[in-house]
């Protein structure tokens, strides 16, 4: 039985925001709502900057489901956490409960209007007929019903973001970690230059005449 999850490889993510763009385009998400976003730590610090792409993690024991006063959340057979927008009252409890800040609320109206909650659906639509116009309008594209994976993961240029059954993507990640090594090999020095870093002495340019070393 599949348990759909996301896994973001911080060593590969280059903060291109391709996943964010893919999600917004595929699901036609309105302005002000970001189902997915890229978070960067140590921004600008050489060697310490890391980025990860974050969205709903489709928790196995989802706190949003636990706190929802109208019980509009459900989990599909393949482990995707979805909700019924016809039932949602936009109270925001799920936003406070979620450790990832996944629930989003459209604020298109005046006076701080908070609309019905919107979040990543793992490109699995919602409780409307699959691939219907109603489903697309409320929840976005249903790619799982087409035998495809979420657009963000399939679009990721460096394959930092993996999506799919937790066991399968964990195996992919494990193999990747074992093969890529560590240090400068993490970002492909050997495959790019054919030598291990440190195998040759660094070539220094001669200092210009009169310059202090």
């Amino acid at each position: 039985m599949a348990r759909m999850k996301f896994l973001c490889d911080a060593e590969r993510c280059i903060e291109c925001n391709g996943c964010v763009t893919a999600c917004k385009n595929e699901n036609e998400v309105p302005w002000g709502v970001n189902r997915r976003r890229v978070v960067t730590l140590n921004d600008g610090v050489v060697g310490a900057e890391k980025s990860i792409s974050v969205a709903c993690m489709h928790c196995s024991d989802a706190p949003c489901m636990a706190v929802c006063p109208v019980d509009c959340f459900y989990r599909t057979d393949d482990g995707v956490v979805l909700h019924d927008k016809d039932l949602c009252i936009g109270c925001g409890y799920c936003f406070y409960a979620c450790p990832f800040g996944a629930p989003q609320f459209p604020q298109a109206g005046a006076f701080g209007l908070r609309g019905k909650m919107d979040k990543c659906t793992f490109c699995a639509g919602g409780p409307e007929p699959d691939r219907s116009e109603a489903e697309f309008q409320k929840y976005g594209r249903n790619r799982l019903s087409e035998g495809k994976l979420p657009a963000c993961a399939e679009m990721c240029s460096t394959k930092a973001l993996l999506g799919g059954d937790g066991d399968v993507i964990a195996d992919i990640y494990r193999e990747r970690v074992l093969r890529r090594g560590r240090g400068a090999d993490l970002w492909g020095w050997s495959s790019a230059y054919g030598v291990k870093p440190g195998a040759q002495p660094p070539v220094r340019q001669p200092a210009p005449a009169g310059a202090k070393s």
Partner: protein, 80 residues
């Protein structure tokens, strides 16, 4: 003296009946509309590059989506 002992015992055992003060969040029961399952849909035509499975057959859908997941592993996809 006996009455005093009884009162002391009642007071001492009183704490045993204390109720749990921590809030226990319980999962609710979904109140919304039912949803379709992915494998109950017919696969797309080949030009749309979706998965191929037998309609209504969960196992074949899972096999199809697993092949798609494995294509994320470029060590297998490119360097096989």
């Amino acid at each position: 003296m006996r009455a005093l002992l009884l009162v002391a015992a009642v007071l001492a055992l009183g704490a045993c009946g204390e109720k749990e003060q921590v809030v226990v969040y319980k999962q609710g029961k979904y109140q919304g509309k039912p949803d379709n399952r992915s494998w109950d849909n017919a696969p797309l035509a080949a030009e749309f590059r979706g998965g191929q499975w037998k309609q209504g057959d969960r196992d074949s859908w899972e096999d199809s989506i697993k092949q798609r997941q494995l294509s994320q592993n470029e060590y297998k996809r490119i360097y096989r």
